[in-house]
């Protein structure tokens, strides 16, 4: 090999390759898991109209009489060309998920735009004033909010701000024909809940990452040289803590896309998580698969970016021994 590619590019390419492989494995696991579930789309849809004849008529119509691996390969082939296929209800999967995915992304981006800068700032503040009142207060309150299940946070927020004080609507459900202002107003409570849930994780990890760097000899050296503490934290410690901070941010961003199902249910927010629940209940496999792919892609994508950021910020990682 005479051509020498840039080490970061070749690293990124190999990570992307591994990411795609993981996607295929995830889709295989989900597909087989769904086909082992008891019950079928036909009986779920027909309910108390489900006679044996009606069920088999529907299964033949949907091609469900074929073995599951045949269906999987057919689906994989189509998905590779970007065709997510038709849902069992006959509508294209992307038409079904598309608007909901947009809603999820809007909610996730607004939350992330607030949460990421805020949590990193708070984390730095905690590290800088370690052991002081502000650190103790933030550590305790974030520990509390990380320990409470998210649906409970959601219900408390809803009870106080929507039912008792009536400041905000209890339903975030954005529907056709609502103006942007009303949509944002309706999204306040879910955003607030999500902030409470993910802030804690990111603040604590930022603080821990900076503090672990602060224990290293070169920081001691900087202090001995007489640099002010604020400068030590921001100029000396923070750049070396970017790797771990990036990975916790990535995890939380992925959570915002794939893990907000409970929040969506409580606030009646029409996001992609509800689409997946609905699909699982109906055994609508093409939709389940598409949602799983989106979620897995979010995790893999964000982690890939976090990896690249930490490697760029720490060139030693490029040349593992």
């Amino acid at each position: 090999m005479t051509t020498k590619s840039h080490p970061i590019l070749s690293m990124a390419a190999s990570r992307i390759g591994l990411g795609l492989l993981s996607l295929v494995i995830v889709s295989l696991i989900i597909f087989s898991a769904v086909s082992f579930l008891p019950g079928s789309y036909a009986s779920a849809i027909l309910g108390q109209n489900a006679t044996q004849a009606a069920i088999s008529a529907m299964e033949i119509k949907l091609g469900l009489n074929r073995p599951w691996f045949v269906r999987y390969l057919a689906w994989l082939g189509a998905a590779a060309t970007g065709d997510m296929g038709l849902s069992f209800s006959g509508r294209p999967v992307m038409a079904l998920i598309g608007p909901r995915l947009k809603n999820t992304l809007v909610l996730a981006s607004i939350t992330a735009a607030i949460a990421v800068p805020l949590s990193i700032t708070l984390g730095i503040v905690c590290a800088r004033y370690r052991g002081r009142f502000i650190d103790k207060f933030l550590s305790t309150s974030t520990l509390a909010s990380i320990s409470i299940p998210e649906f409970f946070v959601a219900y408390v927020v809803m009870m106080v701000l929507a039912v008792k004080l009536q400041l905000f609507p209890s339903m975030a459900g954005i529907r056709n024909g609502m103006g942007l202002g009303e949509q944002l107003y309706r999204m306040v409570l879910p955003i607030l809940t999500l902030l409470l849930v993910i802030l804690a994780h990111m603040v604590r990890n930022t603080r821990a990452a900076i503090l672990s760097v602060m224990a290293s000899p070169y920081v001691e050296m900087a202090r001995l040289k007489g640099e002010p503490e604020k400068r030590v934290v921001i100029r000396q410690a923070l750049p070396n803590a970017i790797g771990p901070i990036a990975s916790v941010v990535a995890l939380n961003l992925a959570y915002l896309i794939s893990g907000v199902v409970v929040i969506e249910v409580v606030f009646v927010y029409p996001g992609v998580g509800q689409a997946m629940i609905d699909a699982v209940r109906n055994r609508d496999v093409p939709v389940i698969q598409a949602c799983a792919l989106i979620f897995a892609a979010a995790y893999i994508g964000f982690n890939l970016i976090a990896d690249i950021i930490s490697i760029v910020s720490n060139p030693r990682l490029l040349h593992p021994r």
Binding site: I45, A54, S89, V265
Partner: protein
């Protein structure tokens, strides 16, 4: 007034409050009691005010069963969401079921039958137009039925349309249905929400894309699994109806979120109020808990082809060994009407009132002895979704039955897949029945020996009575046949009805409505055109 009269009076008042009888019926029966007795004190009664309907306003409904798979193909409808928004809002049937359970003309103005109910002629109402201005023709009706009759049909109305052998147009305003066998209930079956009338397309088939029906409302927007908005149809064929300008259906799957939406004024009506939330709604002066008696019932069903259920006395012993009052009190928190081992609901025509079967350790032992046993052990299969509270009910039943020497092993099954793997497969299992609006329909789908969901019970006399009653035009004879059939099920049948439940909704006091039908949820699916806003 004697003690028993007072008891009856209280019972009537209770029934009135629960909506089991109408006010007119209450007045008639209570004045009869009054005439027989002396003075009395009126028990506390709360009347729903039936003010004159008012025009205008928007009603918002919070329902739980929307799905992203919902679409306008009537064959796929299976929920109260699709039933009430599409069938009840945008479309009509040939006939309509009134709140009192009787059948009334809708798109059909009148109908007549001949050949022992095997030929039916429906005459269409004049001047009805679809939302796009097209007039209703017999061809629209014919195509709307053929849609469900295709050979590979997966329609929910398949069982009904299978009885039809041909549909012919008769002139410009009538349709003739020929049935393979007579069925005196055909007009009622025409009210099935799948059998909505759609506009026919050129070259056959119906237009299920455009959302243009004949109904009280125009389909304004439809986001599957999220919301459906309807706007008033100014050219509706029923006088003054609809009253509302707009109706919005909003999907709220979570019970707590539904309650909060009501309490914060996001919606005016929520469906299926959780029993634990009843006191919360009842405390408020802005909302009412509405209980509409329904066909829905919870039962434990036995397979009588398998020992020990093959012995009628063992079945009776099991029926006597259940303390229904205790279950209703503890598991359903008082929300339910006692079952009497009869699947026919008291709100149905041809309901035959039988003496209530109550918990009796002696009678249970007596029937066990007749079967030549002193004790018996059975497995009862239940899951969380067999019916709401099924596991708790089974555990209580275990306690009740133990006193009569009957051992019940409660087998907890997984909720997921319960209907595929347990129901109709295990010989004794909990079932949540939605019921059927007509006795014949109920019996011929579940209890006759050829019924598709027969759980393993057959009785020749019962089958014969159903056959005879189906084609019988004389109402008195029909009533007698069905009374005997219900007696047979009660004594010999394979089901142990725990309770009948109500449609339990929470309603804002701003909404106005008349008597509410319970054969189907949401005022027989037609609340859009029957309800109004008071303020």
């Amino acid at each position: 007034m004697s003690e028993s009269d007072r008891g009856q009076m209280n019972d009537l008042a209770h029934k009135l409050r629960n909506g089991a009888i109408s006010r007119r019926e209450f007045l008639a029966r209570s004045s009869a009691l009054l005439a027989a007795g002396a003075a009395m004190t009126m028990p506390g009664m709360s009347y729903a005010q039936t003010a004159e309907p008012k025009a205008g306003g928007k009603m918002r409904l919070g329902l739980h069963n929307a799905s992203q798979n919902d679409n306008l193909d009537p064959g796929t409808w299976s929920t109260s969401w699709t039933g009430a928004s599409f069938n009840g809002g945008v479309y009509n049937n040939l006939v309509e079921i009134l709140p009192d359970g009787s059948v009334a003309p809708d798109l059909a103005e009148s109908w007549e039958q001949e050949d022992k109910a095997a030929t039916w002629r429906f005459k269409l109402r004049k001047g009805v137009t679809f939302h796009n201005g097209k007039s209703l023709t017999p061809e629209d009706v014919r195509q709307s039925f053929l849609h469900h009759m295709k050979p590979d049909s997966t329609s929910g109305a398949r069982a009904i349309v299978q009885q039809i052998s041909s549909i012919d147009l008769d002139g410009s305003d009538a349709v003739v249905f020929k049935l393979a066998d007579g069925n005196a209930d055909l007009p009622y079956l025409m009210s099935d929400y799948h059998l909505s009338i759609f506009p026919a397309q050129e070259g056959g088939g119906i237009d299920i894309q455009s959302g243009k029906g004949t109904g009280a409302f125009l389909l304004d927007s439809f986001e599957p699994g999220i919301a459906t908005r309807l706007k008033r149809n100014p050219n509706y064929h029923k006088n003054n109806k609809p009253y509302l300008d707009e109706v919005e259906f909003i999907s709220i799957p979570d019970a707590t979120a539904r309650l909060n939406a009501l309490l914060t004024g996001e919606v005016d009506f929520i469906q299926d109020l959780d029993i634990r939330n009843v006191p919360m709604v009842e405390r408020s002066s802005d909302f009412t808990v509405q209980r509409v008696p329904s066909l829905r019932h919870f039962s434990f069903d036995m397979d009588t082809r398998v020992a020990p259920f093959d012995n009628p006395d063992v079945r009776l012993a099991l029926k006597y060994a259940l303390d229904r009052d205790d279950v209703i009190d503890k598991v359903f928190l008082g929300e339910g009407r006692k079952g009497n081992d009869n699947p026919v609901s008291s709100i149905m025509k041809y309901y035959h009132e039988l003496p209530q079967r109550d918990y009796s350790i002696e009678k249970a032992k007596e029937h066990l002895a007749k079967a030549g046993l002193t004790n018996v052990s059975v497995d009862l299969h239940v899951a969380d979704n067999a019916f709401a509270g099924a596991i708790d009910a089974a555990v209580l039943y275990q306690e009740h039955a133990a006193k009569a020497g009957i051992t019940i092993n409660v087998v907890r099954e997984a909720a997921d897949g319960y209907w595929e793997n347990v129901w109709l497969k295990k010989s004794f299992a909990g079932v949540d029945w939605f019921g059927r609006a007509k006795v014949d329909w109920l019996f011929s789908t579940i209890y006759t020996s050829k019924a598709p969901w027969n759980a393993g019970w057959s009785n020749a006399r019962f089958d014969e009575l159903c056959e005879k009653a189906r084609t019988e035009a004389d109402d008195a004879k029909r009533t007698a046949y069905y009374a005997e059939a219900q007696q047979i099920i009660h004594d010999d049948g394979n089901l142990l009805t725990v309770a009948f439940v109500d449609w339990r909704n929470a309603v804002s006091n701003k909404l106005g409505y008349d008597k509410v039908g319970g054969l189907m949820p949401l005022d027989n699916m037609r609340m859009c055109e029957r309800w109004w806003l008071k303020a």
